[in-house]
Amino acid sequence: MSAQMVEGTAPSPETVGRAQAAPLSTATDVAELLEEAQPRLLALAYSVLRDRGLASDAVQDTMERALRAWSTLRSPASSGAWLAKICLRQSSRLRRKELLRSWLRLPRDGVSAELLAADIDLERAIAKLPPRQRAILALHYLYGFSLDESAGVLGVRPGTARSHLARALNTLRQELQQ
């Protein structure tokens, strides 16, 4: 997946997902596509939830729902955005369920910082962003979606998506300068 990305820049939408351009006719094709989509979905869910276990649950739910609803997908070429949308919805649902429990738990002690030791400062700065801003960062920089496409996945207006991204970047710049 990442082999097609251009290093250092957000990937273009055309490079997102090898199998998206071709029509999918067999269950094997669908299964392969879902399998291939999993790592990025996991990262997307993690961006919202900041918890690997919960992110795995969200991706699992996404897979189940995607398989059940695959026949309703009008264009297989848009399966990337479709899966991302389902994944974000499941992540938000899990996050709501976990909100009280996570508040009651002791704070996690830097697991994610160890995970991404390459850029701990950025990891810490991103962790401070609201989930919606983290989600749009992931859609833009991980999936390479444009702001309009990201807005469609998030179910918000393009202006709102632009505003979320601008705020996220501003916050990150400020955090990273400190």
Partner: protein, 203 residues
């Protein structure tokens, strides 16, 4: 800006790679609870208490039925505390019977008061489920359990012994008994200290 873009792209690619490799992740630590649990429990307890205590108190005082639905109204110079929702309650004793009972009480001289003849009804009003009645001069009558009452004001012309008489009588709307009464008989120019502005003016 480009540098941040690059870092973000790299970061997210790294995120995908790291999450895809379970070995890169330490096993989840057992989730411990914290003092936040105690705080949450205490808050919950406080909320429950804040809701429950007033409900219990309201339930306990509901022996003097539903204070929340008690209202105060002004009726013909009386201040009446009564149940709010009494629509449709009608007295068994009609207005004439109540007036007659009030006139008889005034004429009887009951309780050591001067017996007064020839009085007339000035006002008469029926109120249901009445807890207490205060007259315009401040004298007070409490009825205990709520009663259906006729509130009657009487006035009598001058007669031997008394130039002016005014009386307020509460007649039980169910039985016709006298539930409470006040009588003021006096000679001008000395009106009683408790005389209300409604008193007939001395000539």
């Amino acid at each position: 800006v480009n540098q941040l873009d690059e870092r973000l792209s790299t970061y997210h690619r790294g995120l995908v790679a790291s999450l895809a490799s379970p070995a890169a992740y330490p096993a989840d630590k057992p989730r411990r609870t914290s003092r936040r649990w105690r705080f949450a429990a205490a808050t919950l307890l406080g909320v429950v208490a804040a809701v429950a205590v007033p409900l219990v108190v309201l339930h306990l005082v509901s022996g003097t039925p539903g204070r929340a639905s008690v209202i105060t109204v002004k009726v013909s110079g009386f201040t009446v505390v009564e149940e709010a929702d009494t629509n449709g309650v009608t007295p068994r004793i009609n207005r004439n019977q109540a007036a007659s009972a009030a006139l008889q009480w005034l004429a009887s001289g009951e309780g050591g008061m001067p017996a007064i003849d020839g009085a007339r009804i000035v006002t008469s009003s029926f109120r249901a489920d009445v807890y207490s009645v205060t007259w315009a001069d401040g004298s007070y009558s409490t009825t205990g359990p709520p009663e259906n009452l006729w509130l009657i004001t009487l006035e009598a012309p001058g007669q031997p012994g008394w130039q002016h008489t005014e009386a307020h009588v509460l007649v039980d709307g169910d039985t016709g008994d006298i539930s409470g009464a006040n009588q003021y008989s006096y000679n001008c120019p000395t009106a009683p200290a408790s005389a209300s502005p409604d008193y007939p003016a001395c000539p």
